[in-house]
């Protein structure tokens, strides 16, 4: 692997003006740099061990369990509370007040006193309170249909039909996983210095990984209680095919606008990885064989991907056709000499839609872990100096930055209804981020600063009367309303992928594009929009369970391996 690495990438990273459009960001796929895969690779490499010291759940499915993860340096414990939830209370919305199961990730091993404290708070979620000992708070609801089906099958001594299992893909879906200080939990800064937390969202991913094991165990436990001696044990293959669902609404979309440096670092890491691979002069037979194998498995994955949403159905049709076209091309193309990956990428840019282009861009990285995996440690936001405004920057320089990074926005008529039809706001109810119709609802006074393009255009206009040599500090003293946007512009001047280069308040905005982009970095697959602003996904599907980490592949699990029925 990587014998032909040219250490000085001669192919540059892709132009932010191309990458940062919503249609492309909304077509991103998981990759080697996805947070779930960064975690499972580390677990295997460092030989993490796992234990379940407590599993006390009664016949009604009520109780608690503890799942411990032992890293070389410390222990993290998922504390799970199981509840008996009436159907009428089951809601994926953030406004829900009860769930099938609730969780917290405890930093260390909880004492009995900790458990009693958590029992009084975790089931309440937002209405509860946690401490610096807790690293995350989350909850999950059952897929009622699949849960009942699988419990019945196993209790009857039968294995569930893998095709029925594949139709849903998970037994429970999380509806929120809170970290970074929410509800009183430890701030990110408390754990940021730990090597296993260097990449983003590792604790949250660990929480979901352990939740998947708990859910499998709980379902089996309930089947055992129902079926007694005749109960079947779920086959490892079927168990492994299942992930944890996740239901994500609008709340996640503003995140990538509100964290421009972090967002830049995610995109920049993947773009650097793509540039490094495209810069390779040659590829070995083993490299190309792995690539073509994973391409075939991606075709299979696309066949398994289900959605009832019209936009997603159309995207899926195009993706499947494009992957077939790509496969045909790959079968006859020279993938070994004369910068094979760059040639393949260039061909795809001219022949395939953006969804397949991004699928290919992620796939090309797979044979080259030794070249790209180190980029995982660049994905967190550690540059603490980027918040400060450089008051000495000249007005002329700032204008140049705006003309470069926001050129798409400067000619837009931001007073035209279709270009500013929407407004992001926070509702008084549960403080939930929402997207409203500016001209139909009284929300404009509450608008959040989530339209960088419009704001940059306004800033560019305001600068017109200032001399090029004036310091921006003087401008900001006179026009403090532009301070937020000046900060963003200064960030994007040094972090070119910090900004979505598209309209985030237009009438044609699809918030699911923002959601998919973020979730693809988590490593999510099989995006299933439930509307234009609400998406279900599956996490850790086909991944090894804790006891399988050492005996099975802990890296390439997102790619199905022919074992799953597609009907």
């Amino acid at each position: 692997m990587g014998a032909a690495l040219n250490p000085a990438s001669d192919i540059p990273q892709r132009d932010p003006a191309t990458v940062m459009r919503l249609a492309r960001l909304g077509s991103f796929h998981q990759s080697r740099l996805s947070f779930m895969r960064i975690l499972t690779r580390r677990m295997k490499r460092e030989a993490w061990t796992f234990s379940r010291p407590v599993f006390e759940i009664d016949a009604k499915g009520v109780g608690h369990a503890i799942y411990c993860t032992h890293t070389p340096d410390r222990t993290y414990s998922l504390v799970a509370f199981a509840h008996d939830l009436p159907a009428e209370k089951r809601s994926d919305r953030v406004i829900a007040e009860a769930w099938d199961s609730t969780f917290t990730m405890f930093d260390g091993v909880p004492t009995d006193a900790d458990i009693e404290r958590l029992r009084a708070n975790i089931p309440l979620q937002e209405a509860g309170r946690v401490t610096e000992s807790e690293l995350s708070v989350s909850r999950a609801n059952r897929s009622v249909r699949l849960w009942d089906y699988m419990v019945s099958c196993l209790a009857d001594g039968q294995q569930p039909d893998p095709a029925e299992v594949a139709k849903v893909g998970y037994l429970m879906r999380t509806t929120a996983v809170y970290g970074s200080g929410k509800l009183g939990a430890a701030d990110r800064e408390v754990i940021a210095g730990r090597p296993e937390c260097a990449a983003p969202f590792q604790i949250e991913m660990l929480s979901v990984f352990l939740t998947r094991t708990y859910v499998r165990d709980l379902m089996q436990h309930m089947a055992n209680l129902k079926g007694g001696d005749r109960t079947a044990t779920l086959s490892p293959e079927t168990a492994r095919s299942m992930g944890i669902g996740n239901s994500t609404g609008l709340g996640m979309a503003p995140f990538i606008v509100n964290h421009p440096m972090l967002f830049n670092n995610w995109i920049a890491a993947r773009e650097e990885a793509i540039a490094r691979v495209r810069s390779l002069a040659t590829a070995t037979v083993a490299d190309t064989r792995l690539f073509t194998d994973l391409l075939a498995r991606s075709v299979q994955s696309a066949a398994l991907w289900r959605s009832e949403h019209p936009i997603q159905i159309e995207k899926l049709d195009e993706l499947r056709q494009d992957l077939a076209t790509l496969t045909a091309h790959v079968n006859s193309a020279d993938l070994q000499s004369d910068h094979p990956w760059d040639r393949l990428y260039q061909w795809a840019a001219g022949h395939l839609g953006v969804d397949a282009q991004e699928c290919l861009a992620s796939l090309m990285l797979e044979p080259y872990g030794n070249i790209v995996d180190d980029l995982a440690d660049t994905m967190a936001h550690t540059q603490t100096d980027t918040f400060r405004i450089d008051g000495t920057m000249s007005v002329g320089k700032l204008k140049t930055v705006l003309d470069d990074a926001y050129d798409w926005a400067l000619d837009v008529d931001w007073n035209a209804k279709e270009h500013c039809a929407r407004a992001w706001y926070v509702s008084a109810e549960k403080l939930e981020p929402r997207l409203g119709e500016r001209f139909e609802e009284p929300i404009a006074p509450y608008e959040q600063p989530l339209a960088p393009g419009r704001d940059a255009a306004a800033l560019r206009t305001a600068l017109a009367d200032w001399a090029p040599d004036d310091a921006i500090a003087g401008f900001l003293l006179a026009c403090p309303e532009h301070r937020h946007t000046v900060r963003r512009a200064q960030i994007v001047a040094r972090a070119p992928y910090a900004e979505i280069r598209d309209n985030t308040i237009g009438s044609d905005l699809l918030p699911i594009d923002m959601l998919r982009c973020k979730l693809s970095f988590f490593g999510a697959m099989h995006f299933d929009p439930r509307s234009d602003r609400w998406v279900r996904i599956c996490m850790f599907g086909n991944a090894p369970y804790p006891e399988e980490l050492q005996s099975r592949d802990a890296d390439l699990w997102p790619y199905p391996n022919g074992a799953v029925e597609t009907s």
């Binding site: 159907a87 089951r90 994926d92 919305r93 953030v94 406004i95 401490t131 610096e132 609801n141 897929s143 009622v144 249909r145 970074s180 200080g181 929410k182 509800l183 009183g184 939990a185 430890a186 701030d187 990110r188 800064e189 408390v190 239901s247 609404g249 609008l250 100096d385 918040f387 400060r388 405004i389 008051g391 000495t392 706001y425 926070v426 509702s427 008084a428 109810e429 939930e432 929402r434 997207l435 409203g436 609802e441 009284p442 509450y446 921006i472 500090a473 900001l476 003293l477 403090p480 309303e481 532009h482 301070r483 937020h484 946007t485 900060r487 439930r530 509307s531 234009d532 602003r533 609400w534």
Partner: protein, 216 residues
């Protein structure tokens, strides 16, 4: 009550915005409160007091008019957040050895984090003096002179800020949690509420985009 620093920052940002400050200043106000509480100082209380005092006052009334001599507001006392932001924007003046003096400043404690960021930027210690006391910071750490009675005053007739050439030691380092009193927290919440749109049946149904059953 003990809060995570992210909780404090998130509420302070919304409160500052609800109090009528621009988004940019609100972001810095939030980081300022976070910085102060991480040093065990009553940043939340100071912000709550400032927002209550300046409620309904236009920002340009309490911003420094020009920065050539002693900074002062056109009408009333200087807002420490707007003045602090300008102080940090003009940090190079401190590096060049120029002292910055302000006349009539509300809640002067809130200027300190901005001086800290300026110190970090110019890679030197910066001292902030008012009411007979002095606070010195290198950006991360903080040293307070013994006479700290003036720490929590609601207004000082004069505040000066200068680079410290004789390095001072014994700085306190930031903590990972912050304390905000229930009264201040409630006040900040009241201001934050002003940024939330009242829920309507339509927004409940449409705004979050749900509408399908989750019992499937």
């Amino acid at each position: 009550m003990s809060y995570s620093l992210n909780e404090i920052e998130a509420l302070a940002k919304r409160a500052a915005r609800g109090g009528g400050l621009s988004w940019g200043i609100s972001e810095e106000a939030a980081k300022a409160v976070r910085w102060l509480t991480s040093h065990g100082l009553p940043g939340g209380e100071a912000l709550a007091g400032l927002l209550g005092q300046n409620d309904g006052v236009a920002s340009d009334q309490v911003a420094p008019g020009d920065l050539d001599d002693v900074w002062h507001a056109s009408n009333g006392a200087l807002c420490p957040l707007i003045s602090g932001a300008a102080l940090n924007d003009y940090a190079e003046r401190l590096a060049a050895g120029t002292d910055i003096t302000m006349r009539d400043v509300s809640y002067p404690l809130l200027v300190v984090p901005f001086a800290a960021w300026a110190a970090m930027h110019i890679k030197a210690q910066v001292g902030v003096s008012w009411g007979g006391m002095r606070v010195v910071t290198d950006g991360n750490g903080l040293g307070i002179s013994d006479a700290d009675d003036a720490l929590l005053v609601t207004k000082t007739p004069q505040l000066s800020c200068a680079q410290v050439t004789t390095a001072t030691g014994a700085f306190s380092q930031p903590l990972s949690r912050g304390e905000v009193s229930p009264g201040a927290w409630a006040t900040l919440n009241d201001f934050a509420q002003r940024t939330y749109a009242p829920a309507t049946e339509a927004s409940r149904r449409l705004g979050a985009g749900a509408g399908v059953s989750d019992n499937d």
